[in-house]
């Protein structure tokens, strides 16, 4: 018997008992639907999470430096400039942007509000896509030391609800003194990138911030690797430069650590674990955040996959049961087929093809149900609906395998019947 004969006989048998066939494939449908929905939901959620983490750029490294003693604001500025220049020379590094943050308050009548100030240089904008001034301009080189400010979209809305913040004066209380800044620009709404909301900052020149806060603020250096694969190499290159720069300070810090005390820095990019507790600097890689997230996704997928595997097992047993019933019911047919020349292997293949066709039908139905569930889930969960060929391939592969594995025993039983007894079967 050729494949076409097997398939046409299998489809014929399938159509004979609609309800029974339908019920028996339910296990396969549910199993495959669970797998497909899980994969689609997880990949959708992953895509969204990756987008968030990678918003700051998977190429991004965060360098924190904790110098033990800085004499003055001028010294802080000089150190920032020197370190920025030095780090920019590191291999695999394409960009270094220094930033520093502080908090200030702003009084409206009797109320006072907290503001987050971010000291930046003009190339801060290079870190983000689609982040530019909506009105006015961003911080410029010539603003160094000037009391000018650019407002994030939320801050502008909050402080200047009537609009037109540019050229207004913003007086803040900073480090116990009132300072007036001239607003020179308002940024477009950009939302959350990484774990910072760009719309909530007041951007001022870094040198201005350092002058006002003296030596009390750490400077963070955001570095970008030349490409995603060079992040680790860039990190070691930067660490090499930092080690050379802070050889003396490291010795001091080691001594300090031996007296007790651990350094943890809070930066605008979250709490930074100091990788080497005895060095006065740390390098954090975004990539590790993604790796951690992907690890948890893998665990989740594994758990759901095992649930799906169990339901496919149950489905497979259902198929085996229905095929055994079918073999008994069609004993006479088996006898007839054998009498006219069907070999045992022809009979086996016929029932195997039937099991596979039933399972494949269930698998495709499950694929549809699964995609529908994933689509509904993505609507409710608000993440992108990711559709790919991989679950379809998996559904087909799974159902064919279940059909072959669980159809084999009934098919072999059918092929071993004695033709004369099969013909006599009532």
């Amino acid at each position: 018997m050729v494949l076409a004969d097997l398939l046409s006989s299998a489809f014929g048998a399938l159509g004979a008992h609609h309800l029974r066939t339908g019920l028996s494939i339910l296990g396969i449908v549910i199993g495959v639907a669970a797998v497909v929905a899980t994969i689609a939901l997880v990949s959708g959620a992953t895509a969204q999470m990756k987008e968030r983490i990678a918003g700051l750029g998977i190429r991004t490294l965060t360098v924190n430096v904790f110098p033990t003693v800085i004499q003055s604001a001028a010294a802080a500025r000089a150190l920032t400039q020197e370190l920025t220049d030095r780090l920019a020379t590191a291999d695999y590094v394409s960009l270094v942007v220094p930033i520093a943050s502080t908090r200030a308050s702003y009084s409206v009548g009797t109320q006072s509000r907290d503001l987050s100030l971010l000291g930046v240089t003009p190339n801060y904008l290079l870190l983000f896509d689609n982040f530019y001034p909506e009105t006015g301009r961003f911080i410029h080189e010539l603003d160094a030391g000037q009391k000018v400010a650019v407002l994030g979209a939320n801050v502008a809305k909050d402080l200047f609800p009537d609009g037109d913040a540019v050229e207004q004066w913003l007086t803040m209380e900073l480090m116990g003194q009132k300072v007036a800044f001239r607003v020179v620009g308002v940024m477009v709404e950009r939302g959350t990138v990484g774990n910072q909301t760009l719309d909530d900052y007041v951007y001022v020149p870094l040198s201005t911030l350092q002058t006002l806060t003296g030596s009390r603020q750490f400077t963070t250096y955001i570095a970008q690797a030349v490409d995603a694969n060079s992040v680790e190499k860039a990190a070691s290159a930067i660490e090499g430069i930092l080690a050379a720069t802070f050889a003396a300070a490291t010795a001091q810090a080691t001594a300090a650590a031996q007296r007790g005390g651990l350094q943890v820095a809070v930066t605008p990019f979250g709490t930074t674990r100091i990788q080497r507790a005895l060095t006065p600097y740390s390098v954090t890689v975004q990539k590790t955040m993604i790796a951690t997230y992907e690890e948890s996704v893998r665990t989740m997928t594994l758990i759901l996959a095992s649930v799906a595997a169990i339901s496919l097992l149950v489905g497979g047993i259902g198929i085996m049961n229905i095929m055994l019933v079918s073999v008994v019911e069609r004993t006479r047919e088996i006898g007839i087929r054998m009498a006219v020349g069907g070999r045992p292997r022809d009979i086996r293949n016929q029932f195997l093809a039937e099991a596979v066709v039933i399972c494949l039908f269930g698998g495709l139905l499950g694929l549809g149900v699964g995609w529908l569930a994933a689509w509904l889930g993505s609507l409710l969960g608000g993440w992108p609906f990711v559709i790919s060929g991989y679950p379809a391939l998996l559904a087909v592969g799974f159902s064919v395998t279940v059909g072959l594995v669980f159809g084999l025993y009934p098919a072999v039983r059918a092929s071993r019947l004695d033709p004369v007894e099969a013909l006599r079967y009532e």
């Binding site: 018997m1 076409a4 004969d5 014929g12 048998a13 004979a16 006479r332 047919e333 006898g335 007839i336 087929r337 054998m338 009498a339 006219v340 020349g341 069907g342 070999r343 045992p344 292997r345 022809d346 033709p419 004369v420 013909l423």
Partner: protein, 229 residues
């Protein structure tokens, strides 16, 4: 004349619980090409068992069955199937048609197990149906046909691959006398065309139509007669 099937001291046992039942107890029989043979005898005499051995559905427990010169005892299950597919045509008392298939599809069934192209299968099935006079019923299902028509379809199925040996097991047992007579006439005319026909029957009237009648009793050939055919 060539011998199509030859049985030498054939014994056939069926297992029955701890022991076995001996259906045939040493049968010697030869069927020549073009012969019309009837096997008769009371029920339990081993008629059907003898037919099953001639048709390569079973192997003998002892002795030798030579089908077209091949010793059944030395053949595998696959080789027996191949033999049935090329050299044997069976007709049964209960017609044994597949209910989900149309008449021509039932007739073509042996061809699906041979290596014959689908287009040729249909042509040959239609030719066989026209031989039994049912070509206009080709697309009917067995349930839409009368008993006599169903048996004609079964005969067409037994003819479609032009076998060496046509074997019929009580072919009139489920039919009324009139229809049964027509079926026996059909076998007679097939014999007239040169086909080798073996019919198992317990009806003396039908057996009398054959050239030779073998009477079995308790698993042994009791008597051989030469009939009118």
């Amino acid at each position: 004349m060539n011998v199509v099937v030859e049985l030498c001291k054939v014994v056939k046992d069926y297992p029955m619980g701890p022991t076995f039942f001996r259906a045939l107890r040493g049968v010697d029989l030869a069927v020549k090409e073009g012969e019309f043979l009837a096997i008769t005898g009371p029920s339990g005499s081993g008629k059907s068992t003898l037919l099953h051995l001639m048709g390569a559905l079973h192997r003998p427990s002892q002795g030798q069955v030579l089908l077209d010169g091949l010793d059944l005892a030395s053949l595998s299950a696959d080789e027996l199937a191949r033999l049935r597919n090329t050299k044997i045509g069976f007709v049964f008392q209960q017609f044994h048609l597949l209910p989900r298939m149309t008449a021509w599809e039932n007739v073509a069934l042996p061809l699906t197990y041979g290596r014959i192209k689908p287009v040729e299968r249909k042509a040959r099935a239609m030719a066989a149906l026209s031989r039994v006079g049912l070509v206009e019923f080709a697309h009917h299902r067995p349930t839409q046909l009368s008993g006599g028509q169903q048996q004609r379809v079964a005969i067409a199925r037994a003819l479609v691959h032009t076998p060496k040996l046509l074997l019929a097991d009580e072919p009139t047992g489920n039919l009324d006398t009139q229809t049964g007579q027509e079926i026996v006439d059909l076998f007679g005319s097939l014999h007239g065309e040169g086909r080798t026909v073996v019919i198992v029957t317990h009806e003396a009237e039908i057996a009398a139509r054959a050239e030779r009648i073998v009477i079995l009793r308790d698993g042994l050939v009791q008597e051989e007669l030469y009939g009118s055919g």
